[in-house]
């Protein structure tokens, strides 16, 4: 048993260590002097991920054993093929039930100051327990899930290795959260064509993409004020006025003045995570740019108190909208995309299609 997990390819990939090392090295050689856009990322937040915890976290991430019905893993909503989101307007939970919000992609999530659209979790460790324990999502029972993991020798071994200081209590809800958080912290995306341009390779962006980068930094569009490089987000919630009655951050905080505020998502890999907004109501990036150009929710009769002062109508030519969307595509880098393991320690199927409710579009 001790060796079994180590011998199975996929659970403890050496590629993880290689990735960690690659992160420490500079991106590919630049053709010219670095531009003024070449800013380092801020430090990763929270516990530094260790190889053992990341490997354990990866197995847990893909293992449906965590859900009450043994049919949902983290990866069912955070799919490697969809920018670590799910491609759906709103997430589907236990038994295919419709949830309230759009699944966010996970790239660079380790740099986030607050998690969830409404920012209610201050760190990844508390965030992962949300969907895990929510009765509408994975619906895990906190005692039962630990018992299940403890019953699987490969996990006993994996937890013991990842949390040696915990001794006999290595398998716990706390360790589970920390291992998943460690795994998520290495899902970085910092080597897009934009990054190569920033580092000095002037040929990395097309002319259209370069014009789009200029539009992002314009005081006409003001995109950069909430999506500045290098992370292309800011660590707070704000309101743009997507119509609807979801109070977001203001709802969980009890602050009326912040109703309709949501955490600002990063634009990295944004071309891979359609549809958009907290409710998935906009299908394409073209629609998103036009939504902002009309002043966000101001064009939809949303109470201006729910909308940031900087969200104002602006005019762009169609070719400029296309340039901006083209630039957003240059922010794609999925080199850290986790490979889907062939099997997981529970022996349950990995990323198997869920019941018909999940994919059927004919559901009311």
């Amino acid at each position: 048993m001790h060796l079994e997990i180590a011998e199975r390819p996929g659970y403890w990939p050496s590629s993880v260590a290689a990735l960690l090392i690659a992160l420490l090295l500079p991106a590919g050689a630049a053709a010219g002097p670095a531009t003024g856009l070449d800013h380092p990322f801020p430090p990763l937040r929270g516990e530094a991920p260790t190889v053992d915890r990341v490997a354990l976290g990866r197995a847990l991430f893909f293992d449906p054993i965590l859900s009450r019905d043994r049919d949902l893993s983290c990866a069912h909503c955070h799919q490697p093929g969809h920018g670590l989101a799910d491609g759906l307007p709103r997430a589907r939970g236990r038994g295919g039930r419709a949830l309230r919000r759009n699944t966010p992609g996970l790239y660079n999530v380790g740099y986030k100051a607050r998690l969830f659209w409404d920012g209610r979790a201050p760190d990844l460790e508390s965030q992962v327990l949300g969907p895990l324990l929510s009765p509408d999502e994975m619906a895990a029972d906190p005692v039962q899930v630990v018992e299940r993991l403890r019953a699987i020798p490969a996990y006993r071994e994996g937890f013991a290795r990842a949390f040696p200081e915990a001794g006999d209590d290595a398998v716990s809800l706390d360790s589970l959260a920390r291992a998943l958080a460690a795994f998520e912290r290495i899902l970085v995306s910092q080597d897009s064509r934009y990054d190569r341009y920033a580092a000095g390779d002037r040929s990395a962006l097309s002319e259209s993409e370069r014009r789009g980068l200029t539009l992002l930094r314009s005081l006409n569009t003001r995109c950069f004020e909430c999506h500045p490089p290098p992370t292309f987000d800011v660590p707070h919630a704000t309101g743009i006025g997507v119509p609807g009655d979801d109070d977001g951050a203001g709802g969980v905080e009890g602050i009326a003045e912040r109703r309709g505020f949501f955490q600002v998502p990063s634009l990295r890999n944004v071309a891979r995570t359609a549809p958009y907004m907290h409710d998935g109501s906009l299908k394409t990036l073209d629609e998103v740019v036009r939504f902002y150009s009309h002043g966000g929710g101001r064009a939809h009769g949303v109470d201006p108190a729910r909308i940031d002062d900087q969200i104002r109508p602006f005019s762009l030519r169609d070719s400029e909208v296309a340039d901006l969307v083209a630039f957003l595509g240059s922010l794609t880098d999925e080199s850290a995309s986790p490979s889907v393991p062939d099997s997981v320690p529970s022996g349950l199927p990995v990323l198997e299609r869920r019941p018909a409710t999940r994919t059927s579009e004919s559901q009311p």
Binding site: G36, V234, P235, D309, F314
Partner: protein, 471 residues
């Protein structure tokens, strides 16, 4: 040996890389593309532009570029957006220098520098460039000098989320705001001519920015006159709601010094010192909305506030040379028998009071320090609000004792008299206590006082808390 060779070789490569190439001057003749020249430029180069009209929106991402307009016989190069292009110049390379241009008819902005260390904008003439004239943001070591900027729908000269800025010898008129220093530390605004704007000089801290504070701006030796132009900004934006007739307004920025300015004929007020309003401050509770330690020193006031905007009359009763809303700590106004005042009379400045020391720490700025709590000695009992609960929830005190509530949560809370979930507001009625803030109350009568937190009373630990006062 092999290793030594390798190391030696590496050193040689590094030396080559570090050796500065001879700075070149790239000349742009009238009718040619400035952007093409900028794309060829290498760090240290100067791009020199002949007089002429250039229909371009420029980006400068290469570090250490000087973009120099040749001014000859009263002629200078004109960047003209034709009402269609978005921004005249966007620069990210550090440092960045620009001088000698006229910039006109853009939709967004004249010149913006974003996260640049070392910004030097000199002798620019900027007219009708949309929301801003020049817009250094998240930059440091900024100078904006000898520029003339007109007909801007927000601020002619804006410096935001930056540190160390000199804004001097500029002439700004017929804009909504003349000069705006926002969420910025250590700005020096002096010797500017600021007239015929809606409001002259603004020193603000606004919510939902990355940098949460603005401190130690010095506004001095400016001529701030006749800023009575009706507001033509977007009526939904904060700036679009500024009343006309404003001279110098300090809002939520701390340690500001305003002195030796010539403040004249501004119809609403000469110098105002106010807090950020509650609605705006609650949008960002990492921000400290009060205006503290502002020193309004000797200024020359003449005929301000004589024909105030209706909103000024509504709020203050009348216009005046000096207005203070009575909030904040450590604010003072130098005695001035000639000046008129509205709002709350401000304490007089002590003559010997020194200007606060300049800050020399680096970027990024330290987060705003939690407001220093008053020493516990002033209160007899302390209730801490932490983790969405009052600790202790039930407290017994003696008649005449003072109880202080200290918010150690990252969310705002209140201490409000109530019964169950019913809000009574008397005798306990605290403002929103921001993180780190406290509120205290002295109980003069015996009895049982129940209270709750208004935004969080649905959570049981945040209601039906009590103070019992015994003889």
């Amino acid at each position: 040996m092999r290793t030594a060779t390798r190391v030696g070789g590496l050193c040689a490569v590094l030396l080559l890389a570090a050796a500065p190439a001879a700075a070149r001057v790239i000349h742009v003749a009238s009718g040619k593309s400035i952007q093409k020249a900028l794309d060829q430029a290498e760090p240290g180069d100067v791009v020199e532009v002949e007089p002429g009209t250039y229909r371009e929106a420029l980006t400068v991402d290469t570090p250490d570029i000087a973009l120099r307009g040749i001014v000859r016989g009263g002629e200078r190069p004109v960047l003209d957006g034709g009402g269609e292009l978005n921004d005249g110049v966007i620069a990210s390379g550090s440092p960045f220098r620009m001088s000698g241009f006229r910039i006109q008819h853009y939709k967004g902005n004249g010149v913006s520098t974003q996260r640049v260390r070392g910004v030097h904008l000199e002798d620019l003439v900027v007219d009708d460039t949309g929301l801003y004239g020049v817009y250094p943001i998240m930059s440091r070591d900024v100078t904006v000098t000898h520029c003339t900027i007109t007909r801007i729908r927000d601020a002619a000269i804006y410096v935001g989320e930056s540190r160390r800025a000199l804004v001097a010898h500029n002439e700004v008129h017929h804009n909504v705001a003349g000069i705006e220093i926002e969420n910025t530390n250590d700005a020096d605004v002096r010797d500017n001519l600021v007239y015929d704007n809606t409001a002259g000089i603004l020193v603000f801290v606004l919510p939902l920015k990355l940098q949460k504070q603005g401190r130690r701006t010095r506004v001095h030796r400016n001529w701030v006159v006749r800023n009575n132009t009706p507001n033509f900004g977007d009526p939904h934006a904060i700036v679009g709601r500024l009343p006309y007739g404003g001279g110098i307004l300090v809002m939520a920025a701390d340690d500001t010094v305003v002195e030796n300015n010539w403040v004249k004929d501004n119809h609403s007020y000469g110098i105002g010192v106010v807090r950020l309003d509650r609605r705006e401050s609650l949008r960002d509770f990492a921000l400290e909305p009060r205006t503290d330690r502002v020193r309004v020193g000797a200024n020359y006031f003449y005929r301000n506030g004589l024909d105030p905007h209706p909103s000024v009359v509504e709020r203050w009763g009348r216009g005046a040379d000096r207005i203070w809303d009575g909030t904040g700590r450590g604010n003072c106004f130098s005695p001035n028998a000639q000046a008129t005042s509205a709002g709350v009379p401000a304490p007089a400045c002590a003559e010997a009071e020194a200007a606060p020391p300049s800050d020399t720490t680096g970027w990024p700025p330290e987060p705003a320090p939690a407001p220093a709590a008053a020493p516990l000695a002033e209160a007899d009992h302390l209730v801490t609000i932490r983790g969405m609960r009052y600790e202790p929830k039930h407290l017994e005190v003696r008649l005449g004792d003072t109880v202080r509530w200290l918010n150690k949560d990252a969310l705002p809370h209140t201490v409000t008299s109530g019964a169950g979930r019913e809000v009574l507001r008397t005798p306990l009625d605290s403002p929103y206590l921001m993180p780190g803030e406290s509120f205290q109350h002295t109980f003069p009568a015996a009895g049982r006082y129940e209270y709750l937190c208004q935004p969080h009373m649905d959570q049981a630990p945040m209601r039906e808390a009590t103070v019992t006062v015994v003889e």
